[in-house]
């Protein structure tokens, strides 16, 4: 069985060709019982596969055998699950997968899903804190960052472009006021007591008091702060690409980022329980011949302003799950665009996304607009389980 499953996995990765008939036999009611009885024992010896994925493959294989023919479609379906492919990938590279490659399922927004791959390469040439003490924590960093998600089905690609950057930045964040050791010891003990108390079926009066005391200590320690702030400024250069790697453009420029998390209700943002973050940049962009702008007849380099505003607000609780309203707006505008670019409607792009989500992934979202290098998306309303891009 180990050899069979290993062979199937290698086949799915292109190492071996398919060796099964295309006939799909009907479901056999005895299969579930067989897998239930022997699944744990068989899968225990198959460390290559996650336990649940192993049982699904076992179900498909057993079902096929019980009907005298392999159910190739069912097997292929099971093998194309990210858990199985990632497990095989991890095994192949001894747990250290290059480029942070990971298989994922992408939701195309029309109820269909598609397998794809995510990559994530981050390398810090320099990441150092300095000037500790005072009101701000300071940090300088030089980082390389390449992150992207590419679906195998073009229509399921996330509404974004692929960004690879090298950036040099300096940042400042709020330094929390240092408390004495007695404060720290009491708060630590209250944390453990509150955590243990919170998992009890019914919260006792003592537990309620423990929880309130813990929150009171946080409130007291941060009473001179209205919230937590972080600001970052820097220079960055890199390459932007569409999801198919057809159109690319290089960029070099400067950026600024700011985030404010209100902790107290005596400010406008605190009263509204609204948490904003803003990022702006000015870039010098050099497009290649496949970008929409170059195809329209202007392949010259240009300056571009980019701005992004993100808002986050906790609304209420639904069946024990917090419900969060988020809004995000991304805007890109070419500075001093030619008439040709303006007439083609390629001088500015904007994309707004509004969503309702919970911590368990249920969501409703609406997106409208376009991003640079991506001019063929429609307005989209998505309802369902959230797939993270």
């Amino acid at each position: 069985m180990r050899a069979l499953v290993s062979g199937l996995l290698l086949g799915s990765l292109g190492v071996m060709g398919p060796a099964f008939s295309q006939d799909s036999p009907p479901a056999n009611p005895q299969v579930a019982s067989l897998v239930e009885t022997f699944g744990d024992a068989v899968c225990a010896g198959l460390e290559l596969l996650p336990q649940e994925s192993c049982k699904e493959v076992l179900t498909a294989a057993t079902s096929s055998s019980a009907n005298g023919a392999f159910d190739a479609a069912a097997l292929a379906d099971k093998l194309k699950q990210p858990e199985i492919l990632n497990s095989a990938l991890s095994k192949a590279f001894g747990g250290s997968v290059p480029l942070g490659l990971e298989f994922k399922v992408f939701d195309s927004g029309d109820g269909e899903s598609s397998l794809g791959v995510a990559y994530d390469v981050q390398y810090d040439f320099l990441d150092a804190s300095y000037g500790e003490g005072g009101k701000w924590n300071k940090r300088v960093a030089v980082e390389f960052d390449a992150t992207g998600n590419v679906a195998f089905e073009r229509t399921a690609n996330p509404r974004d472009f692929l960004d690879t950057t090298l950036n040099l930045s300096a940042s400042w964040s709020t330094a929390l006021p240092q408390q004495d050791l007695a404060f720290g010891a009491k708060l630590t003990q209250l944390a453990v007591d509150t955590a243990i108390c919170s998992d009890q079926e019914i919260e006792t009066e003592q537990c309620r008091k423990t929880r309130q005391d813990a929150f009171a200590m946080f409130d007291q320690a941060t009473r001179f702060l209205k919230g937590f702030q972080r600001y970052e400024f820097g220079f960055e250069g890199g390459i932007e690409s569409d999801q198919e790697f057809d159109a690319t453009q290089s960029k070099v420029g400067t950026f600024a980022f700011a985030q404010y998390d209100a902790w107290r209700r005596d400010s406008l943002l605190g009263t509204l329980k609204l948490f904003p973050a803003v990022r702006v940049s000015v870039d010098y962009v050099t497009p290649d011949d496949e970008t929409p702008r170059a195809l329209a007849g202007d392949d010259s380099s240009f300056y571009r302003f980019a701005g992004e505003v993100s808002l986050w607000r906790l609304l209420s609780e639904l069946a024990g799950t917090p419900v969060v309203l988020t809004a995000n707006y991304r805007y890109y505008a070419e500075i001093g665009a030619s008439d040709l670019v303006r007439d083609a409607g390629l001088d500015d792009y904007g994309l707004v996304t509004v969503s309702l989500s919970g911590t368990n992934g249920v969501f409703v979202s609406y997106s409208s607009g376009e991003l640079p290098l991506d001019t063929d998306h429609d307005n989209v309303v998505e309802i369902g389980w959230k797939v993270n891009f």
């Binding site: 994530d120 960004d163 050791l181 813990a214």
Partner: protein
């Protein structure tokens, strides 16, 4: 699989701060372990990778401040602020991770008062 334990000081201290920070004052410990990193860093749908990364950085700096200055925890031997932040950032940059996953680098890099 992360081991999210209410009697683990690092996990309990992380949970209590996140609960206070997110104003979820009635949250229970065990189910809170499933809070997504999107929720923790206040990520918005549709935001750019650069925006999300900025928010994750903000969150790890806030957590470090809470652990060191409020709880008065110390870095484990051989760990400094930058390595502790990087370890937490690796979790928060992954949208598939949960609060219970964040508990692992917190436990590994910070020594809380009373920990053996």
């Amino acid at each position: 699989m992360a081991s999210w334990q209410n009697n683990n000081r690092a996990h309990a201290c992380l949970w209590l701060f996140e609960m206070w920070h997110h104003d979820r004052r009635d949250a229970k410990f065990t189910p809170s372990g499933q809070w997504s990193t999107d929720f923790l860093i206040r990520s918005a749908a549709g935001e750019s990778a650069a925006m999300r990364k900025g928010k994750a950085q903000t969150h790890v700096e806030m957590l470090d401040g809470a652990f060191i200055n409020l709880y008065r925890a110390q870095y484990e031997d051989g760990v400094d602020r930058d390595t502790a932040l990087a370890a937490m950032l690796a979790v928060l940059n992954d949208r598939d991770k949960k609060l219970e996953d964040l508990g692992e680098p917190v436990d590994a890099n910070y020594r809380f008062l009373g920990e053996i």
